[in-house]
């Protein structure tokens, strides 16, 4: 029997506090139990979740298949690395620059790209994502010098704990632990920011355009402006993720931002749950960690054994992907939203403040994601 909790009651607040407090506790303890290289992988999951959060703004909430987030991640990563490497900035100062640079690129690309509709947009943007890594190697205008060309840029030595962090006991020999908290802090900011954006007037406009473009325009939404700025914002969050990836590995090279990464992001989005806030987190965990687990799996199929230790780990991953689309079309977030009401039910406060029984309505998150 599900626990029925009234929205806004003391019980509800306690539950929320316990939930988020528990999450925070896990997030703080986790890097101290895991070995250093696993923390590095965790950092990767966090920046991928952030990148997917940005992708979700365009693909999920705006319903546009723009598949060039990997290029914006690359831009952010290169801005971060080149400012640290060439101009001697501190790495944390580069974060706003990386976001602003990616935002500008996003707006510049968004103005022409958003004229294109449906699958044409998918094809144009995915070919842009495929061509982008090669663009960073162009000799023109000093691009290759600033991006390190085929060799990439190494900024590992420059990313060390700041003075006060060092006094807290973060050692330079185990860099990932300090970087974890830095990256996590940025990611939390991004998630809270996007969550609030979607509850605000511009956020509602984005969803309104997806659900009915003509209807939104009639209701006074400036289609072009909202679309382009949304695209720019998504790019800016991609740039943030790129800077986070640069901080995590201390090394940036074009080979990390191919359209393979783009496909991973899309896969993470769909497995996690399109047009949800928690979806990107689930998706990033699956993409980063399930890949590793798939390597230790073997699935006997009668005459043919799918052995994960080799090229077939990709096949197992493909099977998981198809399985999710078939059996959980709304992703892990959809499963969570389906099972959660069976454990805890939040009912809205009835008018007058009484405690009359009322049929529980869907949570606002569910309404947002329902298409």
């Amino acid at each position: 029997m599900a626990l029925v909790v009234q929205q806004g009651s003391a019980q509800h607040r306690t539950l929320k506090l316990a939930f988020f407090g528990g999450l925070a506790l896990i997030a703080i303890v986790l890097p101290f139990i895991l070995p250093d290289f696993q923390v590095g992988r965790l950092n990767r999951a966090i920046w991928i979740a952030t990148a997917v959060l940005g992708l979700n703004l365009v693909v999920g909430y705006a319903g546009l298949l723009a598949l060039c987030q990997s290029a914006f991640i690359a831009i952010g990563a290169f801005i971060c690395a080149t400012l640290v490497h060439e101009h001697g900035w501190d790495y944390w100062m580069t974060i706003p620059a990386a976001m602003f640079g990616s935002f500008l690129f996003g707006v510049l690309l968004g103005v022409p790209a958003l004229r294109i509709k449906g699958l044409y947009l998918a094809m144009a943007t995915i070919s842009f994502a495929a061509a982008f890594p090669a663009l960073t190697k162009l000799e023109m205008g000093g691009i290759a010098r600033r991006t390190g060309g085929a060799n990439g840029l190494k900024i590992n030595e420059e990313i060390v704990p700041t003075g006060w962090a060092e006094s807290l006991g973060f050692a330079a020999e185990e860099p990932f632990r300090y970087r974890y908290f830095f990256i996590l802090f940025l990611a939390v900011l991004a998630f809270v920011g996007v969550h609030n954006l979607l509850k605000s007037r511009p956020g509602r406009a984005i969803v309104a355009i997806r659900d009915n473009e003509t209807g939104a325009a009639v209701s006074g939404v400036n289609l072009r402006e909202v679309k382009v700025i949304n695209f720019g914002l998504s790019a800016a969050i991609g740039g943030l993720a790129g800077a986070m990836s640069a901080v995590n590995t201390g090394f940036v090279a074009e080979t990390s931002f191919t359209f393979v990464l783009m496909v991973d992001l899309l896969v993470a989005l769909v497995i996690g749950g399109v047009a949800t806030i928690q979806g990107p987190i689930w998706g990033a965990i699956v993409v980063v960690f399930v890949r590793e687990i798939a390597k230790n799996m073997s699935i006997p199929l009668g005459f043919y054994t799918l052995d994960g230790n080799g090229p077939l780990s990709q096949a197992i991953f493909g099977l998981i992907l198809i399985g999710v689309v078939f059996f959980a079309p709304r992703g892990i977030a959809g499963l969570v939203q389906k099972t959660l009401p069976k454990i805890v039910q939040i009912v809205p406060t009835p008018p007058g403040g009484g405690t009359t029984k009322q049929t529980p309505s869907a949570t606002p998150d569910l309404e947002l994601s329902a298409q």
């Binding site: 693909v59 298949l65 022409p112 790209a113 004229r115 294109i116 509709k117 449906g118 699958l119 044409y120 998918a122 094809m123 144009a124 995915i126 070919s127 842009f128 495929a130 061509a131 090669a134 663009l135 190697k137 162009l138 000799e139 023109m140 290759a144 003509t214 496909v263 899309l266 896969v267 769909v270 399109v274 080799g310 090229p311 077939l312 780990s313 990709q314 096949a315 991953f317 493909g318 099977l319 992907l321 198809i322 689309v325 078939f326 079309p329």
Partner: protein
């Protein structure tokens, strides 16, 4: 002058291969209104089937082996469509895109597991020794290139005749114009979808068999070809077969000319490392002016 001619010939013969794959993409788009991102991998698998019948196991005559490979890939395509694609509403793009990406992963990995990732030489359907060419104004038109261009022409003719002169083709065009109405007038839509996928996979395999001697056969062979073919198909318009043929040729030509001439200029020398750039710029420019491609049907929305 002869260098220019040579580059045009090379560009066209590469472009013909992109055109073949682009036509396969368009066939699937017309039937099921989806872009099949697994097209290249399914074609690659067909290329390996050709390899098995022509070299590895049976040493059949090359044309026979190519024919068997095309038939088998057509069956594979029909199965994939029936089992994995038909349950979904193609108007909702994202799930179907994900399904085709899943197929991409699976086919690539299975081919890699069976035949490993070592690139291997494959016999060409046409004579391709160093002296098998016709000389045109100093440029060399190899029989190989000529054969590819002729294959594209034949394939286009076959598709054109089927679509415009047979009852099946009429039904296909009806389904691609309005699926619901076609179902109401008694067309078996399922069969048409199967036909579209079968034809696309067979022609995709033909493309792989044609390109394999040039790129060497390996599981990752078709990924760049697919990107060029996507650019070609979008250039021509996703629902236009003729447009796809022209788009593929234009992409091939552009690549050969831009990479050939522009890289001689110092500032652009690094373009050699970015072969994807010209088709991408072309695609963005064309779609900016004509959002449905050069020859595609305009999308009109009704309120």
């Amino acid at each position: 002058m002869d260098l220019l001619l040579q580059r045009i010939i090379d560009g066209l013969s590469n472009g013909a291969i992109y055109a073949v794959v682009a036509i396969a993409l368009v066939l699937i788009f017309k039937a099921t209104t989806l872009v099949n991102f697994a097209q290249g991998e399914l074609a690659m698998f067909g290329g390996f089937l050709f390899y098995v019948f022509a070299v590895q196991a049976y040493e059949l005559p090359l044309l026979v082996a190519a024919f068997i490979a095309m038939v088998l890939s057509a069956l594979l395509g029909v199965t994939v469509e029936r089992v994995l694609v038909r349950p979904f509403d193609p108007q909702d793009h994202l799930p179907v895109v994900l399904i085709t990406l899943g197929i991409f992963y699976i086919v690539n990995a299975v081919a890699g597991d069976i035949w490993n990732y070592e690139p291997r030489a494959v016999p060409s359907l046409f004579p391709n020794n160093f002296d098998d060419f016709i000389s045109i104004g100093g440029a060399r038109l190899f029989y190989d290139s000529l054969g590819i261009l002729v294959s594209l022409g034949l394939m286009y003719l076959v598709v054109y005749l089927i679509l415009n002169k047979t009852k099946m083709g009429l039904a296909f065009r009806a389904v691609s114009s309005n699926t619901e109405s076609s179902r109401l007038v008694g067309i078996r839509v399922g069969r048409i979808l199967s036909f579209g996928w079968a034809a696309a996979c067979a022609f995709g395999t033909l493309g792989a068999v044609l390109v394999a001697p040039r790129l060497l056969l390996s599981p990752n062979m078709m990924a760049p070809v697919l990107v060029y073919a996507l650019a070609g198909a979008a250039f021509g318009g996703l629902d236009s077969i003729g447009g796809a043929a022209i788009g593929g040729l234009v992409v091939g030509l552009l690549n050969s000319l831009v990479l050939g001439y522009l890289t001689d200029i110092d500032a652009f020398s690094s373009f050699r490392a970015t072969p994807l750039l010209p088709p991408m710029l072309l695609l963005l420019t064309v779609l900016w002016f004509k959002p449905s491609g050069m020859f595609g049907t305009k999308q009109i929305e009704r309120v």
